[in-house]
Symmetry: D2
Subunit: 296 residues, 4 copies
Amino acid sequence: MEAERLQRASSPALDEILGQQFNVLDRGFIRVVDYMGNDSSIVQAARVSYGKGTKTISDDEGLIRYLMRHDHTSPFEMCDIKLHVKVPMDAWRQWIRHRTASVNEISSRYSEVKDERQQTLPDAWRLQSKDNKQGSKGYLEQSLGENLTINELELQQHAQQVYQERIDLGVAKEQARKDLPLSTYTEAYWEIDLKNLIHFLTLRMESHAQLEIRSYASLIGEEIVSRWVPLTWQAFKDYRLNAIKLSAQEIEIISKLIDPNRVSEEYLNSLAQQQGLTTKVERAEFIKKVRRITGE
Amino acid sequence: MEAERLQRASSPALDEILGQQFNVLDRGFIRVVDYMGNDSSIVQAARVSYGKGTKTISDDEGLIRYLMRHDHTSPFEMCDIKLHVKVPMDAWRQWIRHRTASVNEISSRYSEVKDERQQTLPDAWRLQSKDNKQGSKGYLEQSLGENLTINELELQQHAQQVYQERIDLGVAKEQARKDLPLSTYTEAYWEIDLKNLIHFLTLRMESHAQLEIRSYASLIGEEIVSRWVPLTWQAFKDYRLNAIKLSAQEIEIISKLIDPNRVSEEYLNSLAQQQGLTTKVERAEFIKKVRRITGE
Amino acid sequence: MEAERLQRASSPALDEILGQQFNVLDRGFIRVVDYMGNDSSIVQAARVSYGKGTKTISDDEGLIRYLMRHDHTSPFEMCDIKLHVKVPMDAWRQWIRHRTASVNEISSRYSEVKDERQQTLPDAWRLQSKDNKQGSKGYLEQSLGENLTINELELQQHAQQVYQERIDLGVAKEQARKDLPLSTYTEAYWEIDLKNLIHFLTLRMESHAQLEIRSYASLIGEEIVSRWVPLTWQAFKDYRLNAIKLSAQEIEIISKLIDPNRVSEEYLNSLAQQQGLTTKVERAEFIKKVRRITGE
Amino acid sequence: MEAERLQRASSPALDEILGQQFNVLDRGFIRVVDYMGNDSSIVQAARVSYGKGTKTISDDEGLIRYLMRHDHTSPFEMCDIKLHVKVPMDAWRQWIRHRTASVNEISSRYSEVKDERQQTLPDAWRLQSKDNKQGSKGYLEQSLGENLTINELELQQHAQQVYQERIDLGVAKEQARKDLPLSTYTEAYWEIDLKNLIHFLTLRMESHAQLEIRSYASLIGEEIVSRWVPLTWQAFKDYRLNAIKLSAQEIEIISKLIDPNRVSEEYLNSLAQQQGLTTKVERAEFIKKVRRITGE
C-alpha cells in the first residue's frame, strides 16, 4: 500500500544479543544467528487480514493478545528466527521431532566427531517417577551417584577410544560413528517461525518435558523470545503456558463449585478489570465463558 | 512384532456409507472415497510409543481420551480419509487454507466449467453482525431477500453467458473463466489425516466459522468421523469442541467465584465420578487443575 | 562457534528496493516487505553441515552451485522473504496451492471488497491451444476482442452493483461477496523460504504456467531473487530453469546420436572448461554422465 | 460423481505380504501394517484434475508415466502406506530428517531399551572414500576387521552394563539411556504418502546414500512399492532413479557431441519407438528435447 522506502523490521533488544552464546547443560549452547520481524510485523500481517476490522482493537498489545487468545496463529508465522545450537544427541532426537523447522546439522559423515559428551554430575542422577511412567522425580543419593558418574566417564572414554581406533585404521567416518553414545554433542542451525516456535515452547517448557530439552526451551523462551517479541512473549505466558483447559465434563463439575452469589455481571466485570482484562472485548468473552460454565 | 498375516484395519460403519453422497447447500456434496485405519490404529500406534507404559490405561477408549486430552496428537496421524467434495469456490477459498491436506481439484484450464452456482433463497440472506466485524447475525426480511435472489440469478446467468461467448469464440479456457462468480461450484478429492482433520473441524465447526463451510465441516464430523472412529469423535467433542480454555488471568478470577466449602478432595472425587471422569488418572488430573485454580 | 557481536545478514541490492512497488498486470503489484539471509547464509548453513568437508570447494559460488546441482536444498531454507502482493483471485487460486508458505490475505469477511478487477484488453484474449488441453496459443483477432472487452466490463460493473446493493441492505460481507468475479483483486502478505520459492519459480516461470501467474513469478525471479541472492539465482537458471531431464529410455536413444569420435576424456574436459564448468568436481561429474549415456 | 456403493481400493499383491517381516541388516526389519490406494487411485485423482482432458491419454499406464515425467506429483499423495520398522538409531537419525511423514517411535522414556545393537562383521568395515568426503569405498582387510568387531562387541556390552546398573539403582529411564550407542535398535510406525515416499527413495536408494539406510530404502522400493503400485514403480525407475539431468552448460556441451546426421525427425521417431516411448506425446516431447540440445 505505502510506496516509500522501507527499512527491515528489527528488534533492538534482540540485536543486543545477536551471536552471543547462552550456555546450557555442561557444554551446550544457544546463539541467535539471524531473525526476521518483530511484534509489529505480527500486527501488520493481522491488519492486512482484518483490514478496517482491526480499528476496534486500538493498540498493538491488545491485538497480539487477541490473536493469541483466539488461536489466530497465521500472523505469528511472519516472524522467523535462526538459532545455532549445541545439544546432546539424546535431546536432539526429541528436538528434531518438531517437523516444521529448517535444520542444518553438522554431518558426522563429513567431519570427525569431537570428543564432547554430556556428563552427569554425582548429584544429578534423577530417580524414576512412580506415577509417571515416562518421568523422573527426585534424585539418587550422591554416594551412589558418584559411582554412576565415574562409570559414565569410563564408558564415554571407552567409546571415544573405539571411535578413534576405527578412524586411525581408515574406516569411513559414516561407519566409525555407529557406537558413539547418545550423550555426544551435535551442532545445528535451526530455523523456525514464531508460530511453530510457540508450539515448541508450549510442549517443551511444560513440566513433563524431559529436563534436558526443557533447559533449552526455557532459555529460548526467557532469554530470546522475551527480548525479540516482548508482547507476544507475555501473551504466550498468559494464554498458553499458564492457561488451563476444561473439558465438557470438567465444565459441569466446576459449575457445581461456583458460588451462585458471585456471578453477577457487575461483580464479574469488576473482577475482570482488577485482574487485567483491560479490553472490553476480553471482558465480554470472559463473562460468556462463565455463563457457559454456570449453564445460564 | 507379530509375524502373522494381517488384514487391513477397517471401519464397518464407514464401509456402509462408502461412496454415498451427502448433500450440502443447494448442489454441493461430500462422499467418502477411501480411508485408512480406525480407532484401533490409533491405539496401536500409541502402544508402540509407550510400550509397556500403556498397560496402566486398561482400555482403548481410555487411551484415546488420554491422547486427546494431552494433545498427544501423533497417533491420530495414523488414520487418513479421502473425500470427494463439491463446494462453491467461495467456501473452497477458506477450505484450501488448511495446508496439511492433499488436494486434486478439477481444473478449469482443462475442462469447461459447468453452469452450477450456489444460489441463495429469499429467506437466507444474512445480516451483518454488529459486534462481530466478520460475522453475520439474523436474516434480512424476506420481501427484500426476494429481490436479492432474483438479482443474483440474473447476475449468474449474465456471467454464464459471458463465459459461453468466450468459449464459443475459441478463447482459452484458462482465460475464459476469469469472471466466473465465486458462487461457482468446484469439485475436488481432498485427503487428510485424522489429526489435521480434527484441527479443521475444531476451527470450522466452531460457531464463528462462516455458515457455508460450517455446514460442510459439521457434516464431515457428524456423519463421517462419528462413524469412522466413534471413540475419537466422542473424545474430540469432550476435549476440543466443547472444552474451554482459561487464561492465567481468568484462572485468578474463577478462583474468586469458587465456594471454598466445596473443594474437599472427597467431594471433588465424587463429583468427578458422577460426571463421567471414569479413570483414576483423569480424576487426579482434574483435582490438580482445581488446586491450580484455587491456588493451593 | 564465534562469540563476537553479530550483525544480521543483509543484501544491499535488495535493501535498495525494499517496499518498492513492482506493477504486474493492470492493477497488481509485488513489494518486498522484509527478508532474512543472503547468499552467504546459505554457504554458512552448508558449512555447518559439511564441516571441514567444504574446504575442497573453495568459494561461495562453487558451493552454492554444488548445492543446487545436487538438490541439497536444506541450506536454501535458511533464507526467507516476505512479499506484499496484489493479484486477481483467479491467479491467487493457483498461487495458494503452494502449501509451504505463510499467508495473510485480506479478509472480505471483515472488509468491503474494493471495486478492482483485472480487465483484459481487446488484443489480449488468448486462443485455446489445440495440442495443449490446458494451454493457450496465439490471440483472438482484435475486432472480436473488442467486443469481449466491452462485455467483460459490463459484467464486472453488474457484479459490483449487485455486491453494493447487498451491502447497502445490510447483508453480511461474508455473504455479499459470493458472486464476485474471479477477476477481483485480492491482497496478501506471502512469506516463503528460498528453497520453496525456487520450487514455486520452477513451476510458475515455466512456459506451460498460465500467463497471469507466470508474470508474477517472472517478476519475483528477475527483479527480486536476482538482487537478493545473485549466486543462487544464476545457479537456479543453470540447474533448474534451463536444465533438462533425460529418462532411462531417452538416455538410450541419446547414446545412439552421439558421435563416438568426440567423447575422449581430453575432448570432454576441454569442452567442459570452455562451457564454464569451472570446478574439477563438476567436470568429473559431467564426464560420468556422458559415460552413463554412452554406456561405458 | 457415481453414487453406487464403493469398495476400498486394494492392491492384492500387497495384501499378500501384509504384516510379513522383511529382514534388513542383522536385526532390523520392515513390515507393511496398512495402506490406502493403488495405481488406480492415482489415475482417479488425476482424472478429477484433468476432467475430459485425460481422454487423450488412453490408458492408466500412460497417464501415470505422464504424471511422473512432468512432476505432477499431487495425485501420488492420494496413496499412503504405514510401515513398522526396526532400525539402528544411527540410520534412524537420517531417516527422520524426512519431515513429511508421520511417526510413532517406541519411547525409551516409557520402556526399557532392549539389549539389541547392530553389529558389524569382520569383513564389513568400510574404508573412507578418498574423493567423497562423506562416503565409503571398499573394505578394510578382514584381519584388521576382526579386531574391530571384537572391540565393538565389548563396547556394546559395556554400554549395556552401564545402562542396566542405572536402571537397577532406580535412575529414570529417560536419563539412564543417555550413553546408549547409536547402534542400538529402535522401532517405529512410519506413515508416508506415495509422493513423499518417492522422494525418500530417490534420495536414499541413490548410490551416495549410506549403505545402511540404502538397504532399507531398496527393500521398501523393490519388495513393497513394486508390489503395491507396479505402474508407478516402473515409472519411478525410468523417470527418477535412472534419469539424469543436464544443466544449461551441459546441454551446450552435449550438443557438440551429437552427430548431426542422426537427428532427422524420422530417425528420432523410429529410435524413440524402439526404445519404448510408446505414446505420441512422449515421442514429441523427446524430439523437442533433442531440438533444444541441438539448438534448432
